[in-house]
Structure formats: structure tokens, C-alpha cells
Point group: C2
Chain length 450, copies 2
Amino acid sequence: MAFLTQIQSARKGIMTPEMKKVAEVEFLEPEFIMKKVALGHIVIPANKNHKNLVPMGIGRALRTKVNANIGNSPTSSGIEEELEKLSQAIKYGSDTVMDLSTGERINEIREAMIENSPVPIGTVPIYHVLNQVEDPMDITEEMLIDVIRLQAEQGVDYITIHAGLLKKHIPYAKKRLMGIVSRGGSIMAKWMALHNKENPVYTAFDKILEICAEHDVTLSLGDGMRPGCLKDASDEAQFAELEVLGELVKRSREAGVQAMVEGPGHVPFDEIQMNMEKEIELCDDAPFYILGPVVTDCAPGYDHITSAIGATMGAFHGAAMLCYVTPKEHIGLPNARDVRDGVIAYKIAAHAADVALKRPHARDRDDAISKARVEFDWKQQFDLSMDPDKARAFRAEAIRESQDPSSAAKANDPQPESCDGMTNTDEHFCTMCGEKFCSMRISQEIGDVE
Amino acid sequence: MAFLTQIQSARKGIMTPEMKKVAEVEFLEPEFIMKKVALGHIVIPANKNHKNLVPMGIGRALRTKVNANIGNSPTSSGIEEELEKLSQAIKYGSDTVMDLSTGERINEIREAMIENSPVPIGTVPIYHVLNQVEDPMDITEEMLIDVIRLQAEQGVDYITIHAGLLKKHIPYAKKRLMGIVSRGGSIMAKWMALHNKENPVYTAFDKILEICAEHDVTLSLGDGMRPGCLKDASDEAQFAELEVLGELVKRSREAGVQAMVEGPGHVPFDEIQMNMEKEIELCDDAPFYILGPVVTDCAPGYDHITSAIGATMGAFHGAAMLCYVTPKEHIGLPNARDVRDGVIAYKIAAHAADVALKRPHARDRDDAISKARVEFDWKQQFDLSMDPDKARAFRAEAIRESQDPSSAAKANDPQPESCDGMTNTDEHFCTMCGEKFCSMRISQEIGDVE
């Protein structure tokens, strides 16, 4: 029998091991997963050549997923650094990882990542093409197709292509404060303007679908027109492209290719719900994979926070996967610490939305850690927390400072060193209230006096 | 003429300098402020004895405010540490500061804070009373009144009292996973149970109102029953108390005392809107002063993030002031670094809500920093950011790591040291994309090729 992609299998009523696995970890029925994959409302990015992959699903019927972008830039980082970032991202719970390398050894880094990753790996193939040319304007359709084929064969699970940004959309971007802030989008737009031709990824879309179907590469339809600041959010540039993405979703599904859609960017908090609903409508409920969105432009150094706020709101209103933003967004390439901070902020956002949406068993962990808190079971509290190392280190720091208050006075103290934090773990209080005024202990004593 | 509080003045149509100042900084009409103060929908916490105060207003018609809690505990921190925290909180934009000290030199710390603070200072008087007794169960109504009078005379601008938690509410708390997590609330509840008497702050409420009216101390009606975990949110304990707080708001206004209401705590994201609406209804739009709320229990070490998410949603739906939560919540007493991280996270939340609610000029700063970003004006970007020191330090770190990639590989790197970050400020790219693939530069070049 010929190879079938997940969506092709689902349509034929063939239950794949991948669908079963997704059903199991999501506490849902396999038949439900199969039905949703057939409709394209759930994607399972699982390239047949990615051998050590643990299958996972993306869709708003499922637990909210988190992606971490890593990868080097021409000015920063080598293969060891990127594998360290991969390991940090997976350790802290990233559900997929995108390799956005644009610098040296791009092919090797990608191969090493796929080999070392149990989670789906995504890429932006145009970055590899850029690596092959002196001037981005020398890109050709053939180069793009060749790189997509190469990456499909290597085992890349999903690829971002900027096929929805058409020549006719360019004038919209000129009305903006920030123009086009997507790397792929800006290059495609300049290329179209220079050569006076339509977007080559759009014109070659059928060829790309063919390659994707052959290996079951999921398409992540990039938003080259994503707004780069609050002022540009929800404008005609963004929504004109989104309409095209809706058509491409349809064409992908018809070709047996799984597709998701990428979303903004920078969006004021009050416009997030509308943005989610619009995608669901225009793209027939293709999984929405959003970047943030950040809800204010003016907190560089804290964009993991500005965007975790927007991401929670987005997931609550229908986004299926959240692409993390690190504290170093708008400033420079994230290092391993930034990757960790970004992933944790997004695990919080995703989990908060899952709890709010009452997804199966989502709140179990909250109830368990709260029970441990009441019982002063510090070990259990640490073990159940999203970043046990950080929680332990903070408690150790607090205990140290309670013995030497002057060490607490310095605002620019480095983060506390990682340690086991297990000193005094049997104490029935913390340094916040101290023993005498511990509300939880006092609250528990109320029963004794009656 | 006898002394009049802000609300008494407003009712008589007397425009105070404080109301004018609030109108000016909020870009609103003085008459509007006066009307809202008269109704109690805006409070201006301004004790007549707080000499160096710069008046500010709290209410959902105004810019969202942020409060930072500082103060020592019996196990931690002295007067110098607390003044350093005060300075950090004000530097990063805290609109009010609460001194929650429970440890040594409690009276001196408070006096020093009031003397050094241009922003309103709040307290929880019961903490001082606790400081005077061996056993919290020995507290008397007289002690409470004496301390409230002392603090009113010292110039405290607002005080939290737990007057809404009544004896009949205690059984509700026993149905909870975490019981009573408010320090003041748990002590009051145990006291009532032990002595079989009604809440002394409730029975002495008229006497307290008299003292507050004499100095214009604003009441912050504490929620002793605030939920301490998601499971306990929005339960009968919480809302039974909220109803009493609504009655106390009415009594405060009748006595010429300004009043706000404190809110949760731990609340799932989907229940936040309902919680805000309920307060507005039950408490006749008294400014709602909320703590977070955190939207997941399982991220100790990151509770500034879990709660900034909830705080944004809360402010968007009507909260007037956000009490920050630091990364060290649930673990220990915050140090100066934690105070900074907490304040910035909350300035982000408050600002995001102000932008979303389209408050006058709220988005100006976002537009200005985005313009600076397009123009590669790094100095302006830093100057306009919420934490210029952090942004500069991150850029310096990114540049350093681009020259020595191995330094970027360590996940537990300390925070970058503060530095001027101004090396290479004229570069038209950042280390994230590098020069060749800078989307903003390429986007700007599109015009040139047409």
C-alpha cells in the first residue's frame, strides 16, 4: 500500500499508532482524534523519517502546545550551543522545537536536532536557501523546492512557508508603522517587488504539497504580514494575508497534507479574542499557531511576560499552539537561560488556558501542589512545580537571607545558584510570614480550638 | 472649617488640590474626578499627615495602579533592606507601597517609609498588634484601635482591615482545600473561634471609621477569605465575605471615609471576569484592589508571571489597582531583586490593560518605542522601555555572546550585569537575525526597489 499521511489515513478510517498515542496522552477517545485529524482540525506533525519521534497532536480540542524557537544567527552560536538549547527546551516541557538557524553549519545543526529530539522539529526552509546565496534577491523557486525536499527527507516534521503574502498585499504594508517584521515575509516581499513577480512559494505551492504528502511534512502557513507593533495589529495587511492562508489550508487538505496557520505577533489585549475567532472562521478551524502575542511594545527584556499574557488569552479563545517569546526578543539571540525562561512562561500560559478550558485532568497538578502546600511538604511542592530547580534555589536563597539580611538588599543580585534547597524542609512555615504568623498553620488550628 | 476628607469635600462640591492633580496626570477633567470621588468610585489615599505625598487616584475610570508589598518578617530583613526595597519599588513605577512588616523595629520601619515615600503607604495594622503580643489570641479590640490611631497619626494613607470575615463564615472555610490563607484572616478566624465572639474589627467598625475620617485614612477592606488555590476560588466563603464588604463600603461612605475592596488571590482564568463584575455589583463600584490573581498554582518561582496574566485580565474587566506578586511568593520573603521583577511584571499587566481599555494616551509610549525600533534608535528604545537597565544589559550580553558563543551555552548563567549596553548602538540590526536578514531593514528597502 502506498504511504498515507495522517490526514489521508484518518479520512480512510485507518487508525494510526500516532492517533492512538495522541488519544492516550490527551485522555480522549481515539475515534475522536481520527475524526478531527480527518477534518484537519488536529494535526499530528510526524515526518516518516523522524525515527525517534514521540507523536503529539496540535488542535484546539487538545491540550495547548508550546513551541520553542532556537537556532543560530550569522553573528551567534554554534552546534553545541544549539543542542544545549534543544535540551533546555525539552527539559522544561516544550512540545515542539523550531530550528531557525540562519548562520554557519545550518544543515548539520538541523540533522543533529532531529536525531536528538523526541518532539517534532519545525524549520523555515527559506533560511537555508538564504544561506546559499550572497544576496537574498538571487533566490529561485528551484532553490526553495530543493531545500524543502532535502529537509523533508531529513525528517523535518513541519515547515513554515510564507505563501500567503501576495504581491498585491505589499502596498498595505507601506501604510504601517513597522512594515513587515517577519524575516521570511520581508524577503519574499522585496523579492516580488524587485522581480515584479508573484510570491514563488505561492506559485510553487502544488509542488510543495507533493513533497509534503510524500513524507507527511505538516505545513505551517506563515504570516509574513504579522504585526510588529500594537499600532499595526488587526490591519488590512494582516487579514488580507489570512484570507489567502484560508485558501491554502483548503488546498493542503485536498492534497492530503496537514496544515496549521501562524498568527500574530503584537496585538492589544482587547483584540486577541477577535483575532482567534477570525482565524477559526477564515481557515476552517486549522490549528492556530500564534507567536505571543505581546500585549505591549515597551518592555524589552520582559517579552516572555508581555507575550505570555497575550498567549494565555489567545489559547483561551482558540489558539492550539503557542510559539514562545524569550526575554531577549527585540534585543538579540536568546541563550540557554533565555530559552528556559521563555519555555516556562509559555508552559504557564498554556496550562492556565487548559485549566480555564477545563481540559481533562488539567487542574490535577494544581490541586496536588496545593495539597502539598497545605501539608508543608516542600519536597512534593518542588517536584510538582514547573521548574523544580528554580523553586529549590529560591527557597535556599530565602533561608540564606533570613540568616544574613544584608545579602538581600542588593537589587542586582544574580539569580540564586541552583542547589537542592532542601535545608529545613520539615519547617511548617516559610520566610515570607515566619513561623508565628503562618496563615496556613493558624488556619489548620481553628479546628482544634472549637 | 473642620477637616474634610476627599469624599466629604467632593460631596460638598469642593475641588481639592489632590483632585486637580489626579485630573492632570490622568488627562481627565477635574469635575469628573470630583464627581467620582463623591460617589466613592475613585479614592485618593492621602493622609493629611503624609507630608511629601504626591496625590494619586485609584478607580476603574483611571489608569490601572500597581502596589508593591514590602516589609520584613520575624525571620528576615532590617530597616536598610526595607528602604532599599521601597526605593526599588518606586524606581520601577509602583503607584503605592504597602509595609507588611511583622518583625523587628516595625514602628521605625513604617516611620522611615512614610518619610521617604512620595507614593501612598498602606499597612495592615493587625501586624503591629501581633508584634505586641506573645500569642495572637491575646489581641483585644482596644489594641487594634490604638494601633490604627497611632498609624493614622503617623501618616499611613490606607489600611487593610479584615472586617468582613464573620464568625458565621468560618464553617465555609473548612470545606476548602487550603482553608484561610490570609494572615490577618486566619488570625481573626482563630480568635473568633477561640473566644466565641464576633470579629472585633467588625464590631469596632464605627470607631475605626471615626479615626479614618479624622485623618483621611482610606480603608482597604481586606478579603480574609481570599482563595489560596484554584480549587477554592469563587466559593461561598469568598462571596459571603464579599457581600459583607459591600455593606462596609456603604457604611464607610456614609461616615465620610474612602474605601476600596481587596480581591483574590488564586482564580482560574475563565472566572476572573465574573469575579470583577461581582465586586462592582456587590460593592457599588468601590475600587477593586486585587492580588494577582495567579492563574495556576504550580509555578512557584514564577508567580510574578502566573499572576501578571490574571492581573491583566482583572484590570481589563474592572480592577482598579493590582497588588503585585513576586517570583518568591509561596516560597519566602522577597528581596530587592524580587521586588523589581514583581513591579515590572505588574507595570506590564497594568499598562496592557490600559492600552486595551484605550485610556487617554496609554498607547503613546508603545508607538514611540516602536518608532525607535524601526529607526534602529537603540538609545531611545532603552530610554522608553520599562526597565532600561535590563534592556541595556541584555543587549550587551547578546553582543558579548556573539563574539564568544560558548558563553551563551550555560543555562544557569546569572543575569547579565548592569552596563550601559551602548556598544554598537548605531548598528542597524540585532544579534537575533544578524545584519543580512534583518526584516526591518529589508522591509524598508522594498520602497527603494520599486
